[in-house]
């Protein structure tokens, strides 16, 4: 069996919310992630989908080591992310690239595109100084941008262009894993399609492992072979894209699909009932308050993500029958 490149073992992430004012100092805890289990194989393309606030960004930041897990473990290969030594951390920085949701904000506004792209190459000593311009130009070419842009500053590029530059920078260090947060949201349909095609081709050609956050199920199914659905900080269903879209087994996934979002609209389940606050999660299943299939047991037991069939996991006590 292949060894996973990332494994998350019951990862939890809580934020302390400090009370405002002198009399409400008592701090409360917000559970942004709760019992997240995930195995990512080399070459996987995984879409993280879920409503706003479900913890997608938090999950990806934990996998990048930008934030520590409050509980549970995040493994990169065999090693715990929080215990990497300097050498391993440098390797991690090279092998795992992140494309920010705010592509423009992730680039130094005082640097030219040329220098932005050259930085990771220089950093990891990937080529001789004399070969650098050629290499940078090749990168830009690979994402379909003219070399005329090399002398520009980030603020002088359009939204589509800057996202391509962000992709080019992610590719610069020849990574094995690319993570991207909402990398096509807010773009024109045609530009979005171009960027998606680019990402898809890159992953196919170079065998790059991709983790892609999106609130667009269409994008998810186009780009990724697997989907993980998050609800209130937990992955509630995970499996191959086709299987999930055709036969959702978790009532929440089903509700999501029934309200199949119009293009570029935030994902929203068509359900009545309040979404509980992540500050005080209800006892039992976190979806019980909105679940049409809820039964008495659901309010007692919190279902964890368990295998249903090969490659398919669901966190539900009474999964929807297949077909």
């Amino acid at each position: 069996m292949q060894e996973p490149i990332f494994s998350l073992l019951d990862v939890e992430r809580t934020y302390e919310l400090r009370g405002r004012g002198w009399f409400h100092r008592a701090s409360r805890q917000l559970k942004a992630l709760d019992g997240v289990r995930l195995d990512l194989q080399r070459g996987d393309t995984l879409a993280l989908v879920g409503e706003s606030g479900s913890g997608k960004s938090t999950l990806i930041r934990l996998m990048l080591g930008l934030e520590p897990a409050s509980d549970g473990r995040v493994l990169y290969g065999q090693r715990d992310l929080s215990q990497l030594d300097a050498e391993e951390r440098k390797r991690f920085a090279r092998e795992v690239a992140f494309i920010y949701q705010n592509a423009r904000g992730s680039m130094n506004p005082r640097m030219r595109i040329e220098d932005i792209l050259a930085e990771p190459i220089r950093l990891h000593g990937l080529c001789a100084e004399s070969a650098l311009p050629e290499r940078v130009a090749a990168l830009l070419d690979r994402v379909g941008l003219p070399t005329g842009l090399l002398q520009r500053f980030p603020s002088e590029l359009s939204g589509g262009q800057i996202r391509r530059v962000a992709i080019a920078r992610a590719l610069a260090a020849e990574p094995q894993v690319i993570m991207a947060d909402e990398s096509v949201a807010g773009l024109d349909v045609s530009v979005q399609a171009q960027v998606l095609n680019l990402l898809r081709d890159l992953c196919r050609e170079a065998g790059i492992t991709l983790v892609f956050i999106t609130h667009d199920l269409g994008v998810a199914s186009y780009l990724c072979e697997k989907i993980a659905v998050l609800y209130l900080g937990r992955i509630v269903e995970q499996g191959p894209t086709d299987a999930i879209l055709n036969t959702p087994r978790h009532p929440y996934t089903r509700a999501l699909l029934q309200a199949f979002p119009r293009f570029d609209m935030p994902l929203k389940a068509s359900l009545s009932g309040e979404i509980p606050s992540p500050v005080d999660l209800p006892k039992g299943c976190r979806f019980a308050g909105r679940c049409p299939q809820a039964q008495a047991a659901c309010r007692e037991t919190d279902p964890v993500l368990t295998a249903l069939e090969a490659g398919r996991q669901v966190a539900c006590l009474f999964p929807v029958a297949a077909a």
Partner: protein, 293 residues
């Protein structure tokens, strides 16, 4: 949306486009720059332009109005005002720029350390800065002069010290803001070392407001220096200094108004020019006037 992927690179250099051209568009700034250039010229070539030794006294020729021998007249010691004016420009510009440069270097270092290190270091440094900022610049400079004693060099140190606070506070504020920008985190994620992050990503993004501030401070420095000398706690006579010259002419203001008037007008024009340039620099560098979609 603008997404023509084939826009050719603009012909002229970006540096010009971002900094020089916006500045050129500021008419008043250009006027200020021209006047300052004139002062700098006068200061640099003072030894050749002057008609007399600026400190040569000739009591026989005291309190004379403008004439062929003394173009702008003489003061109560018979010193040539035109020559003193030229050397005075030299002194004013040197003190102005030197004190600002020194204050900037120390202040920016403190601000960087406080903003980047945080914690206890920041707390201690900022309490010191608060102490410096509690007094108006003139009072602070006077206090330092009282401690350091009279003299040109001490004026520079006193003024520099009074500028450390503003530069430190401003740098820290900007560093704190830049530190939390996504591109800093992105650089760290790519494995860029801390030193390189400070040098390549933090400094270039805090430097332009600091330089604009420095430009404005030069005029404050020159005004303060003249004020100190006017009050008799700055440079010592007979150094050709505008503040001193104005003070000396005070007693003869009805008899020989040119003694105070000549350096006074020279000072006023220089200050206006420096402020015009400073405002122009601010407008040219201000991120809100540059497009930043």
């Amino acid at each position: 949306m603008r997404d023509a992927l084939n826009i050719p690179a603009p012909p002229d250099s970006q540096w010009k486009r971002r900094f020089v051209q916006p500045l050129l568009r500021q008419r008043s700034a250009m006027l200020g720059l021209a006047i300052i250039a004139l002062y700098v010229f006068a200061a640099v070539f003072a030894p050749w332009l002057a008609t007399h030794d600026p400190t040569a006294q000739d009591l026989m020729a005291s309190l004379q109005g403008p004439s062929a021998a003394h173009w702008l007249g003489t003061d109560s010691y018979g010193q040539d005002l035109y020559s003193r004016l030229l050397y005075g420009a030299q002194l004013a510009l040197i003190i102005g720029f030197a004190s600002v440069a020194l204050g900037l270097a120390v202040g920016v270092a403190i601000g960087l350390a406080a903003g980047l290190m945080g914690g206890r270091t920041e707390w201690v440094l900022m309490r010191i800065v608060d102490g410096l900022l509690a007094f108006p610049e003139l009072i602070l400079a006077m206090a330092f002069m009282a401690v350091l004693g009279l003299g040109t060099e001490n004026v520079v140190y006193a003024l520099a010290l009074s500028f450390v606070g503003p530069f430190a506070r401003m740098t820290r504020g900007d560093v704190l803001q830049v530190k939390n920008q996504p591109y800093i985190e992105a650089a760290r994620l790519m494995g860029v070392t801390t030193a390189a992050i400070i040098w390549r990503h933090v400094l270039p993004n805090v430097v332009s407001p600091i330089l604009v501030q420095a430009g404005m401070r030069v005029s404050i420095a020159i005004l303060l220096e003249s004020g100190l000398s006017f009050l008799g706690i700055g440079v010592v006579p007979p150094t050709p200094d505008w503040g001193l010259m104005i003070a000396e002419g005070r007693a003869f203001i009805t008899m020989a108004p040119w003694i105070s008037g000549v350096p006074g007008v020279a000072l006023a024009i220089l200050l206006v020019a420096l402020n015009l340039l400073g405002d122009g620099l601010r407008d040219a560098f201000d991120p809100t006037t540059q497009k930043d979609a």
